[in-house]
């Protein structure tokens, strides 16, 4: 397709996507504002033939919440893609694979959210995996991207095997695919059966969500995909997997034993720590963001764990808090992570590198992108004025309320530890994003590509600013978001637990007040600093010339973290000095630092090695000798005849 044609198709398709998303949002808002019983009980669509015979769909409050996120993500990412795809068009790369898979990917996510039976769910789920795989593979010219996509493909299929097994097992036990029928039959199942199904769901969905240790595909796939796709995958697809935890585990499998909650909490805490630690030492612009997604999924996992524990301890107060924190953080993370991926996309298009060691000084050259990214960073590191803070704050509260209501015992010892984990993660995430922003945007350019960088296409910096605006709006007008969060809560609330309003009461309604105070404070600071004396001089550098090599490197900035957590990160370094005669005169110094994907090396590599070893031994059966094959035949015939006697 020609360049002109390509341009019109890009505008047509992405415009259509934006319009559809906008229309869906408006229509959905009108529909939900009108209210009705369907939010709680669900509204079934096209289900005449019933589950198993036709695809069945259902719309309820929980779905509406995630549909909102999906539509918002769709609209924003499409708007961004409108600008981002221009580069491919200029390179004369065919846009068809992108445009078609983009739509199909979005449609399949709608399918997963609306599915009301196991079969429909699996079908849409597989489509979602497949089309996102194609999108990750869009820049297939780079062998590294092909490898990333392949890892994603394999991992997601292993996960689907488990999901399929669990769903078929449930079908065998209940004779139906419908979620409702499962929920009804669950009380009749034994604990071990439930545990098995739960574990299969946990691993299957956890892989897609990016829980450690099933996360290894995520940093590869999210960084290899084109930036709008990364934004959509990180912001929305991961949340779809979390939605299914609520739909399939919370609502269908029911309360379950206490250890389910502990598992969520433990895996969540592990993901949060491993995610942020790995993120802090990355020097790849997008890989860092991908690891940060793992961290945030971990935080959401802790919230789910807290909710599960509160449910089994009958602590409705903590449960509501945990869920409000969960949904709030889901929205906020979607906004901020999309924003940051868009910022990263702008940098990549401007410099054609993802390596932070080659960036620097971009704030002067790309001020608008930089401003957008700054908003995203304040949000994602959970600094107070923006929404990231409020979500984590409520999560702290939920964990604390959970702990406070416990009788003395081991649980009371371990639960506060997760609060400590959350605090550690918060601190590390600030270090991480200071590095992300500081190394790429501040200081001097570390390479010529960074020096020659130019501000991106207007759409590409306006979209992040829109996202940032929405994030600010969500804090200024929290009651709108809370009304949205109320929708899934009305589905999840079982009977006579405490009213949601009491759980929501204090902290969030006050947030706007806090924000007004903060704005006043900022204004005062600005006014005061304007009046003060400013001196503009050259940076003092002990008298020597100021060169880019005097700055911190991306690796150096977070080196303390890397040294502290050597075991977790699997880092090792090698310093080699070239001395001239004595050890006091140094000619040159080379530093080589390496990071090992610990989980990849300690778990996946041995597992794959074992599989290959086993296959090579099994392969001996297939020696290629006809005589051997015939011998198998003879032995088989005899054995069958003897057994069949």
């Amino acid at each position: 397709m020609g360049n002109k044609e390509s341009q019109s198709f890009r505008q047509l398709f992405m415009g259509l996507s934006i319009v559809l998303a906008g229309a869906g949002l408006i229509w959905g808002t009108i529909l939900t504002c009108r209210g009705g019983d369907w939010i709680k009980t669900g509204f079934q669509l096209f289900t005449e033939a019933g589950a198993g015979l036709s695809l069945t769909w259902k719309l309820d409050g929980l779905t509406v919440f995630f549909l909102f996120i999906l539509l918002l993500g769709q609209g924003l990412s499409s708007l961004y893609a409108l600008g981002y795809l221009k580069e491919y068009q200029d390179k004369n790369k065919s846009l068809w694979p992108f445009l078609i898979n983009w739509f199909l990917f979005l449609a399949s996510m709608f399918g997963v959210l609306l599915a009301d039976d196991g079969f429909t769910f699996l079908l849409s789920w597989e489509m979602m995996s497949l089309f996102s795989f194609f999108l990750v593979l869009y820049e297939h010219e780079d062998p590294q991207n092909r490898k990333s996509a392949y890892i994603y493909f394999v991992m997601t299929h292993v996960a689907t095997v488990l999901l399929t097994t669990a769903i078929l097992y449930l079908y065998a036990l209940t004779g139906s695919f419908a979620f409702e029928a499962w929920a009804k039959a669950v009380p009749t199942l034994s604990t071990s059966q439930l545990n098995l199904i739960f574990l299969a769901f946990f691993i299957g969905l956890g892989t897609k969500a990016g829980f450690v240790p099933f996360h290894i595909w995520l940093p590869y796939a999210h960084s290899a995909a084109p930036s709008p796709v990364s934004a959509l995958m990180s912001g929305v697809m991961v949340k779809v997997a979390l939605y299914l935890f609520i739909r399939l585990v919370w609502l269908t499998l029911g309360p379950g034993p206490v250890w389910w909650g502990w598992l969520f909490l433990l895996v969540g805490a592990l993901s949060a720590i491993v995610g942020i630690l790995s993120a802090s030492v990355q020097s790849d612009l997008k890989k860092l963001l991908a690891f940060s997604t793992i961290e945030n999924v971990g935080i959401l996992g802790i919230a789910l764990g807290s909710a599960f524990l509160a449910r089994s301890w009958n602590n409705s107060w903590a449960m509501n808090l945990a869920f409000v924190a969960f949904f709030w953080h889901t929205i906020q993370h979607m906004l901020f992570k999309s924003l940051l991926f868009m910022g990263a996309g702008n940098i990549i298009q401007a410099t054609h590198t993802r390596n932070m060691e080659r960036l620097g000084g971009l704030l002067k050259r790309m001020p608008k992108t930089g401003f957008g990214a700054l908003i995203g960073i304040i949000g994602i590191t959970a600094l107070p004025p923006l929404g990231g803070f409020w979500g984590e704050f409520m999560l702290f509260q939920s964990l604390w309320v959970n702990t406070a209501h416990l009788a003395n015992g081991w649980s009371k010892v371990f639960l506060p530890l997760s609060i400590g984990v959350l605090a550690l993660v918060g601190g590390l995430s600030i270090a991480t994003f200071v590095k992300w922003f500081g190394i790429s945007f501040l200081g001097q350019a570390r390479s010529t590509v960074a020096e020659k960088a130019k501000e991106a296409h207007p759409v590409q910096y306006i979209t992040p600013l829109i996202v940032g605006g929405l994030a600010v709006l969500s804090v200024l007008w929290p009651s709108a978001i809370l009304a949205l969060i109320n929708l899934p809560l009305s589905v999840l609330r079982t009977g006579d637990v405490l009213g949601i309003s009491s759980a929501l009461g204090t902290p969030l309604n006050l947030s706007s007040t806090y924000l007004i105070l903060l704005i006043l404070l900022t204004v005062i600071v600005i006014v005061l600093s304007k009046r003060g004396i400013r001196r503009v001089t050259a940076t003092w550098n002990c008298g020597g010339p100021l060169t880019p090599s005097l700055q911190y490197t991306a690796g150096g900035l977070t080196n303390p973290i890397r040294v502290l957590f050597t075991k977790v990160l699997g880092s090792h370094r090698h310093v080699e000095g070239d001395f001239a005669g004595t050890q006091y005169t140094l000619r040159s110094l080379t530093y080589e630092g390496k990071l090992k994907e610990v989980f990849e090396y300690s778990f996946y590599r041995p597992a794959i090695g074992g599989l290959i070893w086993l296959s090579s031994h099994i392969r001996k059966l297939q020696a290629g000798s006809i005589h051997l094959y015939l011998a198998y035949l003879l032995v088989t015939v005899i054995v069958v005849l003897i057994l069949g006697r």
Partner: protein, 217 residues
Amino acid sequence: MIGISDNELNLVLLVLLVSGLIMVYSARVKNALNWWTLQTVFVSLLLIAEGYHNHAIEVIIFGVLLLVAKAGVIPILLRRVLKESKTEWVGEIYLKRALSLVFAGGLTLIAYEVTEPLMALHSGYRNGLAVAFALIFYGLLLMMARKVAIVQVLGILLIDNGIFLAGFFLTQGMPLLVELGAAFDILVGIVIIGILSKQMLENYDSLNVDHMRSLKG
């Protein structure tokens, strides 16, 4: 199907079994082929005799067809392939002729063992079924322990005879159409194998199936 007397039946069965054993033991492909032809003639004769005793004209017709198609056409086709490939010896591999005969004896015992519960009937038929299974086993043994592709074909033919006999004794007369189909099937199979062995000759210049190892992926 009380037609042929026990003695006649046992005699035919003896011929079938012994011809099978001789095929396993034979050193030249041509001999094995001749013995197979003899065996097939006797299978057809068994069918014709059965039809004669039961006054079932279609069984007789089928027996005659079998005689012509299997004992007539197939040996001619195979002999042509033999001549073209200048194959003479069966090419022992894994098992020498004497040892394979011992194995064949063991397989005969197994055949009697596995057919024991299948036929609590007439002693003649009981033997017949056991011989049928023994022939199937011989065929597999022959294919397994010989190198030359033509011997593999003979193994298949031996198995086919065995299956035919087993069907004959178990069902006591399958519909004519099924039997015809089965016979036609093996005929087509042999034609295809003839073509394939020509291909093999062109590629490897011999009919040694060991060359097929290079096809392994």
